[in-house]
Subunit: 361 residues, 3 copies
């Protein structure tokens, strides 16, 4: 895969997707099989038997091991073969790669890089998770037919909302407001406030606002794979203090991107909010709206990918609004280059980046 | 694309297909988007935004411009960007290619070559169009999975009718009559008269003939993309004067071929006739029969294309009936070679043709 | 195609599949068209007209010839063109390749190699065919998406039964019994007896056995394309004499593998048995069970093929149970290499094999 960071936690699945039968999904272009042991712990292996390459996900979970559906070889959660029917000797080659997995926030996270570095403490912290007065919504996984960097750019790009999401979260009034981009320690943020504007359709429908609103969006990207949009809609004319914002409708909209192949991505979204808590009908509508919204993105970024494939290009004209997205992309390209340089034993990551840049120019 | 003439008018669509929403179709392997302005005029652009390559057909028509569905850039009918939301400066690179279009005979014609040469006077003249006593039928566009030259050959080939169209327009009696091929100034014609024969099923059903008939077919090909078959069925035993032919059933059967890719073609057909005028039921049956007939061609030429792909060949034995089709193909190959030579700045088109021939042998 | 033997009889179709209309099927990566003449004899040609490559199977059978559906050329069963509409002279190039075919055991067999060697006496002999007290069941052809050698290995591999066929013919008890492999004159055999075991589900359902059973399976492979499994289930505790075995349930389960492409195979199965003879309901259930069973194999070997495509590997760890399958594969690789060497005019087949081995290492 191109431009992919291996040493990172990616969402493999929501927790509820993985039970005591084999679960398979392709991640970073490798076939993964996961299952849950009797003590509730997860395990993840390469989904390819060491014997004749048959996907282990065609077999079954037996005694906390994966039993191949072809000849019954059993592999434990570390990938070691613990049983070969009909013979006592277990060949040294009978072992499959295992991957660190961790469960947090209702998600199973997988580490595709160096297992030594797989520190669960590095899993991204979800704001207001398990906080009274806040609700969490896990969206259905979507399958976007585009390289994940196209989605990264899209998530860091407020300007498309007006056009791509005209019928959902878009707002004509916001189109002429230029966003500001800043880099923080561990992430990049692009934000804009839209003042004295009609609330967008999705908020107008809620009936929470009688008049004009102020609305802010902070698009944060934590490389390589977590996006968080902080959204506040509040009555216009007030100071933008934390307390006033909390009295408005406030939400953290997360997306977790898991590269599948060079042209496809698993798109997981999670929404943490301070309104409509406990209202099942509202939550169902919200889930439906968000699904539609993100499929609108999918339509655009998938079409973009097809044109990228045909032309070998990514962009021909540059606009001011490209600054944020371009920075987010560059952050990942640097990380990927640093990993590649390290893997290749280069003198320093910086060297590798500059060499790469030269080669691409 | 191979063997394609760029400086020519191709049918992009029937007029009725294009309204005030974006219409997309691939022509000569380029994605085209067309739309109709408020004054009724058409415009056609490359269907790929200059910014991030997103197809403009995913956007909408706003104030006689195409507005990209991603970031709202607006392009006018000339391909110039006239608005970038959020910034005043329009980057010079923000421009997409536009294509000359013209509307005539209920069709939108597009010119994929040098715009300087796009003279609407070069659009093919349709016989008896808008003539009292004659009716025009526009067929549904068909999608034929074959290189358009395979269709050119097929349209210039009377001999296949007996076999490929056994259940529609075919006529066993015609099979042993050899056609004659002649070259005119601007086209090639292959024709044959079948005398004292049973009328073909499609004419027999009409009840217009009580006994045997004389039937003629003139297969005319106007390179690179217009075919016209002049058909007369008349009572046998009369002189073949224009007046007598006009008393028979007479029709001009047009096909307009628009190459889509190297292995697919948009197939538009139009039928101009002097019988059953004003009879809607008859016309519906006629449209149905012709659709079936041309799909019979599609079955054969698509299968042929698949075998051409696999074998790298086009033909292994040569028959007398190949003369007409081969000449039609050669006319286009010459035109395409001349264009290529001119584009390459060669001394003369003739040179290029002979060099090409040498290279191919 | 890789690792394929051309000089052999392959099942093209069951007899009942071929009538007096063209029948098409791809064999050894060549398109074949077959038809039945008025005297009942079969003919098989390359399914590609010598004129413009159109599949002859799009035409029709006329007077014991295949008439092309494009221009009506007629080819007899030897592939000679016997009629060209509209001209007397038949061009020498107007000929298509024909293939020897023979009909036996309710099947049409085709010979894809040197026609001179197509001796019908080489068609594999079916045990107990047309024998009183025995019934024959012809299964529906299955389409397995895997190279036929993967199926050859699978058929010579008793060890997978327990796991792949858990819900049909599998038997947990058999899993720890090691099979024995021996080479006979013209075939290879792998067999095992399972003693004092519960009958497998398929036999248990029949009610034929009240207690424990002895069960044997002889997996015989006759290269390049015939597999026969001899199965006996008998009451435990008796001597394994022919007479005692005949009093049990005894069957010969045939599979005929016909390579279609490098990644797909026509899978024909036939079952000859001494029980449930004349019981149509039982036979229907049997056919259903076998179809399910062989589709279980298809699931595994097709998935294996996909992983082979991706990795370029076939196997990474070796087990004792691989001995039989590996020998079967080697027999075919030798035969294929010998044919290739002969075709290349090599000094001796042995030379070719060793050269091939060197090249592959």
């Amino acid at each position: 895969m191109h431009y992919v960071v291996r040493n990172a936690w990616y969402v493999l699945a929501w927790s509820k997707e993985i039970g005591d039968t084999p679960f398979s999904r392709r991640v970073l272009d490798e076939p993964i099989v996961a299952y849950r042991k009797r003590n509730g712990e997860l395990a993840a292996l390469l989904d390819r038997c060491a014997h004749k390459l048959v996907p282990l996900s065609l077999g079954q979970v037996v005694d906390d091991t994966l039993q191949c559906g072809y000849h019954g070889l059993q592999f434990d959660g570390s990938g070691a073969c613990v049983h070969v029917p009909g013979q006592d000797r277990i060949p040294p080659a009978a072992r499959v790669r295992s991957f660190p997995v961790a469960e947090r926030y209702g998600a199973a996270w997988i580490w595709m890089g160096d297992p030594e570095r797989a520190d669960p403490g590095l899993i991204h912290v979800i704001e207001r998770y398990d906080t009274p007065g806040w609700a969490v919504l896990w969206g259905e996984r979507q399958h976007h037919l585009t390289h994940y960097l196209n989605i990264v750019e899209n998530l860091q790009d407020p300007a498309h909302t007006t056009y791509t999401h005209r019928s959902t979260i878009g707002n004509p009034a916001s189109s002429e407001v230029a966003p500001v981009t800043e880099e923080a320690d561990d992430h990049i943020v692009t934000y804009r406030w839209t003042l004295d504007a009609e609330p967008p359709p999705i908020d107008r429908a809620s009936g929470a606002f009688e008049g004009l609103t102020d609305r802010c969006q902070y698009y944060r990207f934590f490389p390589p794979c977590v996006s968080r949009v902080d959204v506040v809609t509040m009555d216009a004319g007030q100071e933008h203090t934390e307390a006033n914002m909390d009295r408005g409708r406030r939400a953290y909209s997360y997306k977790f991107l898991t590269p599948e192949t060079d042209t496809s991505t698993h798109f997981f979204w999670m929404h943490v909010r301070n309104f409509g808590v406990g209202d099942a009908d509202f939550e169902a509508r919200l889930a439906c709206e968000f699904s539609r919204t993100f499929q609108e993105d999918n339509v655009v970024t998938s079409a973009m990918q097809r044109e990228q494939n045909v032309t070998g290009l990514r962009q021909t004209a540059w606009l001011n609004i490209d600054a944020g997205p371009a920075r987010a992309r560059r952050m990942i390209e640097k990380m990927a280059a640093a990993e590649a340089a390290e893997a290749a034993g280069a003198a320093s990551p910086a060297d590798a980046v500059s060499r790469r840049t030269v080669a691409a120019s």
